[in-house]
Every structure is written in C-alpha cells, then in structure tokens.
C-alpha cells in the first residue's frame, strides 16, 4: 500500500472544476519547471530526465516519450513542431478532458518544456471539437502565457522562441491517429500517413514533429521539478508515474481518478467507482477505451499497467474502463461500438472501409434475431483479417479487439441470439410471450 498518495496532475484542480488562472497556477509552483529549464538546462538534459523517468505515452500506445523525442534531429533548421493531441475521442475516455478544462497551464507548461527538449519553434493544441469548455480555457491560458512571456519570442529572456496555437478539430476519431492528425492540421483529409517517414523526421508540413498526448505532456513539468526517481516512486509497478483512470458503465460512481500506475481493476471498480449498481453483476470491461479487448471476472485483480493488462490479453490503452453488466446485451454493446468505428473509418483502406460496415450490419442482424450460424464465422473472419498490419492504421484492428474478445467470452450470448432468433436482453414482446 502507498503511504502517501501523490496526485501531481490533479491535486490543484479547483473544487468547482474551473480552470486555474495563470496566477493560481503560478501560486502552486506553476512554470517553475520552465524557469528551471530555461535557467540553464540543455534540451538534451530535459530529454535525459524524461528518459530516466520512464514516462510512457498516455494516449494508448504507451511508447516511451523520451525515446520518441530522441528521433527528432536537434540541429534541424526551423520550423519544428510540437503538437498536443487533445482529440480525445476514444469512446469511454474522458481523462484528458479533466486536465484540459481545469489545468490548461499545466498542459501549456508541459508543451513548452517538450518543445524546448526537441527545439521546436511552433506548437499546436489539436483539440476535440466537442470540448468547448476546454477550448475556452486553453485559449484564455495561451493568451495569459503570451502576456506573461512564457510564449512568444525570447521566452524568459532565454533566447528560446515558441508560438502556440489552438486548433479545434471537426470531430473525427481518425484525427487521434497522429499522422491523420497532421494531415487534418495541414487542411487535408484526415487519412493516416505511411511510416516511414516518421513524424519525428517529416511530420507537419514535412518538418520534424512530435505529437504527444495531453496527459503525457502534463507530466513533464512535475518530472522536471521533482526528478525521475520521484516519478518512478509514484507508481506501484515498473511503469512509472500516476495514471488518470476512469470508469464508466453501470457502476455506482462513474468517474476518473489520478492513482498510482498499477492499481487493480477490482480496486477501480469496487473502491473508486463504488461497485456495480444494485441488482447488476459485473460481466466484463474494456480496460482502456472502446478499442481494447474485454477483460472479465477472472481478470479483476489484474494490475492496470502496460504489462499487466497486456498479459491478461488486452491493452491498457487510455486506462479508462468501460464496464459491461449482466443486464446489458453484449451483442448490442459491441454492435454499438462497431457502429462507431464504421462511422469513423476514414475510408482509405479497403478492409476498414468495407469490413467494418459489414461487421456492424452482421451484429445488427444478430441483434435483430436474423442472425445465422455462418455470421459467427464471418465475424471471426473479420477479427482475424482486420488485424494489425492488414489495415493501413490501427483503427480497424482496434475495432476488432472488443469484438474478438466478446466472441470469446460471451459466445453463449451470440449463440442464443441466433438460436432464439431474438435478443434475450430485450423485453419479450407480448405476442411471443403467450405463444
């Protein structure tokens, strides 16, 4: 058990959730990391402390942040870009939203530090369109930061220049994929790009670019201030730091909490979310947003870190649980998700563009009681051939994760739909009841 539970990312959030003003942020130590860095640290030093901290990207893939940065050629001519990926659209995920709405300066400071570490001269916050409150908060905070000399030319008289822009997307899940985000930011269609070239070498407008998740960036000021060892100690496991976990679904208190990396799923659901709503039983959960495999009862004690969830057959993803209960139809649940993914396919590659609507239609058909035995084979075919590498980006493989695990853990539900020609979770129509 942790003796003192530190919550560096969220401890200063105001009780009313209103964004911390510049003054308030400075009062709790805000921008001291920036002063420290610009007061004499080299970009390599910043990279080093982040490297030592073992910080991994909080967007879902969990790539080592400092390693990503290290691919940017430091001596490349201007411009280089730093982008905060704030296009949080993973269903069931709302962890970045909290940070964006309540502590915008924390993000901005993290971005300036990251920009300094890779010597970027221009930065963007690529924000989900629907996050109107956050947009307002960030816009105001960027203004404040400019006025205070944290942004613009010659920041804190250090000679370091950085501009920052807020870009609100138009609400496409695809833009969360970093290369599609770049295309979108360039005013092009939000389709993913081939790698290589990696954005670190040729990204936005063909220039070296780093795209980091909001939560990732928010960690940087604290790591700089308190050091990598402190950051490692925050965690219960190998994967350092805290994590903003979330729980949604029919639990008593859905929400998000900053906790040491590596709490168990059971703790999250039972302690923090207050357990299942009365009369409902836990059947499973997507541990890291909609595009992760279901974990079920036997996995409740799995540690919610990268390795732990992976060992259980899923992914930590965004660390936000979507809980399935025993009164909700798993087929309908997955159909709902596949509807989302089919809608959000960019239409670039064949398996995703054509396969996902087929999956959705098949699930709808099963849910409507029109399913056939062969439909299960068809769904299995898709989970197999929409896998990683077969499609151009990770959208369709992600879409297959909840489906393939649902087919495994909730097979009987699928079979029952097909056998009974109806969804057992729906109220039985009166006409049939008497038949």
């Amino acid at each position: 058990m942790d003796t003192v539970m530190e919550k560096p990312l969220t401890e200063h959030i105001r009780p009313d959730g209103k964004p911390l003003s510049l003054k308030e942020y400075e009062a709790v130590g805000g921008y001291s990391a920036l002063r420290k860095v610009l007061g004499g640290m080299a970009p390599k030093d910043v990279q080093l402390v982040v490297k030592d901290s073992n910080l991994r990207g909080r967007g879902g893939a969990g790539f080592l942040t400092a390693l990503k940065w290290s691919f940017v050629p430091l001596d490349a001519p201007k411009p280089k870009y730093l982008i905060a990926n704030a296009d949080e659209m993973e269903p069931g995920t709302f962890k970045d939203r909290i940070l964006l709405e309540s502590t915008p300066h924390q993000l901005i400071e993290g971005m300036i530090l990251a920009a300094f570490a890779i010597q970027a001269s221009e930065s963007f916050v690529f924000l989900r369109w629907a996050y109107k409150v956050a947009a307002h908060a960030i816009e105001k905070a960027i203004h404040e930061a400019y006025d205070a000399g944290y942004l613009g030319n010659n920041i804190l008289k250090s000679g370091f220049d950085l501009d920052m822009h807020l870009h609100t997307g138009v609400g496409r899940y695809m833009c969360g994929e970093e290369t599609a985000l770049l295309n979108s930011l360039e005013g092009k269609r939000a389709t993913p790009r081939a790698k290589p070239p990696f954005p670190q070498i040729s990204g936005l407008f063909g220039r070296p670019t780093i795209v980091n998740n909001v939560e990732t960036l928010c960690n940087i000021p604290h790591i700089v201030n308190k050091g990598s060892d402190w950051f490692k100690r925050l965690s219960r496991t190998e994967d350092s730091g805290t994590k903003i976990y979330g729980v949604s679904g029919k639990v008593k208190r859905p929400g998000a909490w900053e906790l040491p990396m590596g709490v168990t799923m059971r703790e999250l659901i039972e302690e923090y979310a207050g357990g299942m709503q009365d009369g409902l039983r836990f059947r499973g959960a997507l541990p890291g947003g909609a595009s992760t495999d279901f974990l079920v009862e036997e996995h409740l004690d799995v540690r919610m870190d990268y390795a732990g969830v992976a060992a259980a057959g899923s992914r930590l993803g965004t660390g936000t649980l979507v809980v399935l209960d025993d009164h909700t139809c798993p087929v309908g649940f997955v159909k709902n998700l596949e509807h989302f993914f089919a809608q959000e396919s960019c239409g670039f590659c064949t398996p995703c563009r054509e396969g996902l609507p087929w999956v959705e239609k098949t699930l709808q058909s099963i849910e409507d009681g029109k399913g056939r035995e062969k439909d299960i084979d068809l769904l299995h075919m898709h989970t197999r051939y929409l896998g990683p590498g077969n499609t151009f980006c990770a959208l369709a493989p992600g879409a297959m994760e909840p489906l393939q695990s649902a087919l495994k853990y909730f097979k009987s539900d699928f079979d029952q739909h097909i056998h009974d020609h109806r969804c057992p979770y729906h109220a039985i129509p009166a006409t049939l009841e008497h038949a």
Binding site: I201, G206, S345, L378, N390
Partner: protein, 912 residues
Amino acid sequence: MAIIFIDNKAYEVPPGRNMLETCLTLGFDLPYFCWHPALGSVGACRQCAVKVYKDADDKKGRLIMSCMEPVTDKQRISIVDPEAKEFREHVIEWLMTNHPHDCAVCDEGGSCHLQDMTVMTGHNYRRFQYKKRTHQNQYLGPFVNHEMNRCIQCYRCVRFYKDTAGGKDLDVFASRGNVYFGRSEEGVLENEFSGNLTEVCPTGVFTDKTLKEHYTRKWDLTMAPSVCHHCSLGCNTIAGERYGELRVIMNRYHGEVNGYFICDRGRYGYQHVTAPDRIRKAQVGDKETDRHHALNEIARVYGPGNKVIGIGSPRASLQSNFALKTLVGKDNFYHGVSDEEHRLTEFAIRILKDGSVEAATIKDVEHADAVLVLGEDLTNTAPRMALAVRQAGKQSFLPSINKIGVPSWNDAAVREVIQDKTGAIFIATLEPTKLDDAASDVYRGAPDDLGRFGQAIAHLMEEAIPEVSGLTAETRDIVERIAVALLRADRPVIISGTSLANQSVMKAAANIAWALHKKNSHARLAFTFSECNSMGLALMGGRRLDAAFDAVRNGHADTVIIMENDLYRHSRKELADKILSQCKNVIVFDCLPNGTTQKASIVVPAGTFAESDGTMVNNEGRAQRFFQVFEPANDIQESWRSILNIGDLVSHPRLMKWKNFEELTKALAEEEPLLSGVDKVSPPADFRVAGQRIPREPHRYSGRTAMQANINVSEPKPPEDNDSGMSYTMEGYRGIPPSSMIPFFWSPGWNSVQSVNKYQQEVGGPLSGGDPGLRLIHCTNDSPKFFTDIPEQFKPMDGRLWLLPSHHIFGSDELSARSAVLQERIPKAYLIISEASRVEMGIHEGEELSFEVAGRTYSLPLKFSATLPKGVAVMPMGIDGIPYVDLPSWALVKEHHMAEVVTVDVNAKKNQ
C-alpha cells in the same frame, strides 16, 4: 543485386524497388489496385498482400502489402501462402460488397482490372446479404462518363488527376464507406489529361464517353498500333475499329515517349476520321467520281505539256511525302509550311545534329531534376511534355527523401515530405501557362526578351556568350537562380520550340544546353514543333512554300499537286487564292474539305492515320511506324498508295518499281540520307512468328460470320495486309509481338490495359525487345560554337501591336479541331492585349478591337492580360475565324467598339 526467395525459390532482383513491381516483373500474378507503375504506392487497397518471413526458420511469417515493402537482400516471401491467398480473396470480397453485379452490361467488362483481379483471387461466392451503397453520378463533360456505384475507392483517379496531372476540379469527398470521387459540382473536367482516367480507373467508374456512344467491347475491336497525329511528340496509341468505324483511341505504352498517358487532344481528336463531311469519293471538276477515274485524270494531267510541282505536308507520312517528291521530282517538291516554320524546324535540326547535346525524350524530361522551359506554352503546344515536366518537379527532392528512408515509389510519403514545394522547374513564356503552378520561378517577356533572358542564363555558364545588358535586378536574380539550379542538377533538360516563331529563344536554349554539357554529359535539349511530322518533312529536304508560289507566279509551274495540306493554314488567303487560281490544275489529296480542296480541280480522298500505314518522325527525331487499323471503304486510301497508282498509270520509271509499302519505304531509306534506317523501324511486311501474322483482333472477337449477313450469308474473305506482318483477323500469333507491332495489350487473365506489365522488360521500363522507334538524329559535335548574338529588347510602337500566336490544345491542331467531341472545348477567337495597352487606348470590357495586319483587317473580341508586355498582342492562330497571317507581325490598330453580345446556352450542350 539482391537475392530474394519467393516461395522458397531464389531470384536475383534489383534491391530497393517495391516487392509488388518486383513480383510482377518476375512474371508472377499478384493482384493490385491502388498501385500503378506511374503513380507509385500508397498502400490503400491492401490487395497485394504477401507473406514475409524473418528467415528460413520462420514458418509463420506475417502479412505485408507488397507494394509498400522495399526489396532487400535475402528477403523471403510467399505469394501462395494460404493465409495470404485468403486475405487477398477477402479484399475482393470486401470490395464486392458495394460493387454492382453488372459485368455483363457494364462497359468496362472484358477490359476491367477489377474483373481480372476478382477472377485471379478466386472470389466468386457472395456472402454479403445487405444493401449496397449507391451514389449519384455526375456530368463530367464530353470526354469522360461517370458511374460512381462501380467505385472501389482505390484513389487512383485523384492521384492521377490531382497529384500527377495537376488538375484542380476532381477530388475525393466524404469518408468511411461513403467516399466519393468526383467534382464539387457537375461540370466539364478541366484538365487536359482527363481521358487517362478511363485507363487509370481499374473498373468502370470513368469510361470513354465517345466509345460509349457507339460501344464495342475491347475483344470486338479491330486494333492496330498507331502514332498520334495531333502534335509533334508522336505519342503511341492504339486505335480500335468496328463496322468500318473508328471507335476509340487508347494509350499504347512506350517507355521513352508517352509512358502510360496521352492527352485529351490525342485521345479525343480522332473523330475527324468519322466526321460526316469526310471526303469519301474522288472529285473531278464539280463532279463526284470514283478514285480510278480521278487518278486517270491526274495521269493525264501529269503528261507532257504541264509543269507539275508537288507540295508536301508536315501532317502526312514520310512515305506520302516521298512518293510525291518522287513523282514530281526533287526540284519540284516543296514543303507545305510557311517559310518561317521551315526555317525554324531546320534550325532546330541543325542544333540537335551539330550540337553537343542529345534530344530529350519525354522520359528524360520526367526524370530531369531541373527543367527550363523557354518560350513554349507546353500544355497547349506539346501537352504530354507538360505532363512530364510536372513529374520532374519532385526529382530534385528525391535524394534527400531517400535518405530519410522513403523510397521514391512511396508516392504518398514522398508528397507529404515535399508538401507544396516546387522543384527546380523554371518557365519563361510570353503569357502565364497552366504549368506555372509547378514552377519555382516564372518569367514573362516578349519573344526577344525571352531570348535575352535565356542568353543571360547561358552567359553565367559560359564566357563565350556575351553579357545581356539592361536586365532589372529582379530579372538578374531569377537568371542567377536558374543558372545555379541547372548547374547543380544531375539531369537538366532545356525545352524550347518553334511556336513563338522566334529563333533567339531556340539559340538561347541551345547555348544553355551546350554550356551545361561541358560540365554534365547528362544535359538534354528538347524542341517541340507544330505538326506531327514537321521533323520528318524537314529531314526529307525540299524547297520552301514561297518558292512554290514563285514557280507558279513566274510560270515555271501550272499544275500543283497538294498533298494533305491546307495552304490556307500556312499562307495568307490572298496569296493562296491568287496562286491556286493561277494554276491550270490543282490536284489535292486530303481527308477533309478545306479551303484548298475547295479550289481543287481534282480531289482524291486521302486516308487518315487510322486508314494508313506510314512512318513519322517526332520532335526528338524518332522515326515511328503507324499501322492501318482497317481498310477504308469508298475511295479512301493512303496518299502514297494513290501516288504509286499514278506512277503505274504514267509508267513512272521509279514509282512503278515499288509495289507496296515495304518497297517504297526501302527506297525512301536509301534515297534520303537523313532518313536512312526508317525501313528498319518495324519488322518487314513478310514478318511472321512461327509462320503466323500478328492479329489485329483479339481471339475472342465475335460476330464476324454475321456482321455482313445482311449482304451475303457467306463470310467474306478478310482483307489481306500486304504492307505489314499483321492480319485483319483474329487468327495469328498469340504471344507478345515485336514492340512496334502491339495492336492491343492482353495476356491470359489480364484483359485490361494493366496487362502492359506482361509486355515490359521490367514493370514501368522498356517494352520487351526495346521501345519502338529509331532515333535518326544524334549530336555529332562535342564543342559547338555558341550563338553570341543577343536580340534587342522589345520596344512597343505607338499605334501598333506586335502580334503573336497563342496555341490551344483544343483548336490549334488542324485535324483534331474537326473532331465533333472537341467542339465545345475549342475557344472562340480573341485578341489579348496588355492591361497597360488597354488603359493607354482607353478600351473598356466587352469591346472588340479592329486592326490591320498584312493588308487584312481583323476584328476580334478583346481579353486583357496583366502580364503581357505592353505593345504585344496575342491571337489564337488556326482557330476558326482567324485567317492565316505570318506571325509575328506588327498590326496597325484601327478602332475599338462594343462587341455583339452572343449568348451561349450552356444547358443545351449539356443535354445533348
């Protein structure tokens, strides 16, 4: 070289290319859609999946897209792996969820890449049981038909139209399963290369609208290798006929010339062949008669007592020109082009022959890492060259892009790195051109000023060329940038031509190329000319048109044989009228009525390209053979054949010896020193493979026993071809013919044009056996003498305009301008003056200007240009309503007045 293992068999292949093209080159059948040899890889369709293994011990492997995988040494892949095969089958299955089941009635059926690939993967049973998505189709103009329901979203259309051809009005819209390819609103596709969509599209979304009007399946066409007759580049084409009617023009791949694409003039200009006013019957006096009678009349006229001269043509074949030259004698043979054009063409040949730089092929231009266009509006004078220049734009970036691990064929990645940067392309022209958006520097000037500009560049490279004085600081900057870029380039190409009728630009182009050659042996020089056989005619030698007129005027000639030439396009009307009326006999061979045929006492119908065998020489000096597509009906035949007939009738000692095309061509090659070798351009008439001819018809050709059943139930004997080793039937050799004799591309399982893969030595490379054609001109002088004359700066004259020609892809070429489908794309006559002149003359919008030039008064609607130098005016020569005048000339400004308002009903055209 790398050794790779495909299904455990070792192959030696060049490393770095992508695995898909490597497999295709090795002869494997691997299905694909989004990849195209000229468009590169993007990895969208996922059709070309194969298994790749870490090493010999790896039995599991993983699926990769072969088009995105660079070939490396010791790589192991499997094409036949069950999982890879199953995945490829599923990709088709996915595509078919929304593709209509209308192959039987679809106009792409039988030449459909999607159909071929579907069969190849083995997918045939439909499991998808839901509704298909549907789309609205759009009206895209007269050339291209749109049928969006058939779309499989391979993105090739936009990648060709936007990324390759620079088009702005075709795009991809919407997302997910609803992706739509079309225009933002209905309307005519603006790009000059839109017709290529019909070949780039792997299925029937974009099809040839003109073919659709009299539709024929590919397998029912009689086809022959042809060469485009509508500009000087000589793009290779395939022409297809059925029921005696020319129905379609398709691209015929040539590795050095046109590659995979032709322009819309070349594809849609063919309807002059089927024009209702074609000359099909001979005419003597006012009476229609048969050819036999007309030729006898000519034989009679040819006899003693008449002084006969012949006027050849830059749009007629070498054979026709040579036959005429032989008939009338070389001293009586005249080139049917204006003196200025004659002079410029010969000058270009001199530069290429007596210079140090080889002529650039279109492929050279495409691969150039720096291009300077001096004086040519390429999009309108040599469209396919413009397309090549556009591709050259990325070349200068490729080395640094390769360095960051992106292969040149990885198209999307290359474009993302380049973004909207322009490469080392420089364009100096009179007026803005459509190619300007690909250029990093443009320069505007009157022709002499373009010459000065070019000389200024040359001066920076070569001391022997004097400095050009009086350039502005800004111009000097551009000059320096261009000189530096050209010197820095590994493969620079300089492009100029005769369209401005200005020798100084050609001299400057030569100087720059020669100066570059001193440092870089890869420098190339390209000239473009006005007609398809300008170069061939000039190489043949002959006298000038003015001399012909002198001969008539002075009484040295009273009978003129004019072959495939409308004198009214090469000389002033007053002059042509006078000369023709002075002749006792005006004998004209031509395919369409024109000013000259109207004055003729005898008209003999001439075969168009589709009805003729012949050889032409393109702008680089490449002699190319074109073959008769079908035997024409009525009295139509090649001019050379008619002249051989006359030779027989008059017992001409030489002509009567030549019984056929072969013998005529041999004599031509022997007698014309500059054309030596043209008889070797293609295999001789007795060429056979295993005793068989090359059939013009696919083996699935249908209906021949029934086609003429309304006349006779017995199947008629097919025409015999004495002029080539091809047959007019479906019987014959089924393998790959010599590269100059490919009537159509087909290979088992590959019915679409994509079968060209099977005809190439390597995908995207030369055709098997080498690309066809024979270069007649090679540079011979390693240190030519530079041109040191610098023209005077252009000075405007009060009350006068320096009148220059402009050119239009649709309208400026004589024969294609008679194609029905092009009519709505041909601009109306106009005159452009500079904004400065407009202000000075007090002219308002909508006014016409009257001016006098060479004794004739013109009155043309005005357009104004902010870039045109003051005192210069431009009008589109050759467009209907503009009689010929020697340009450039000073025009005397007379008056300006409001133009009559002409309303055009746009909808009326659309609904036709």
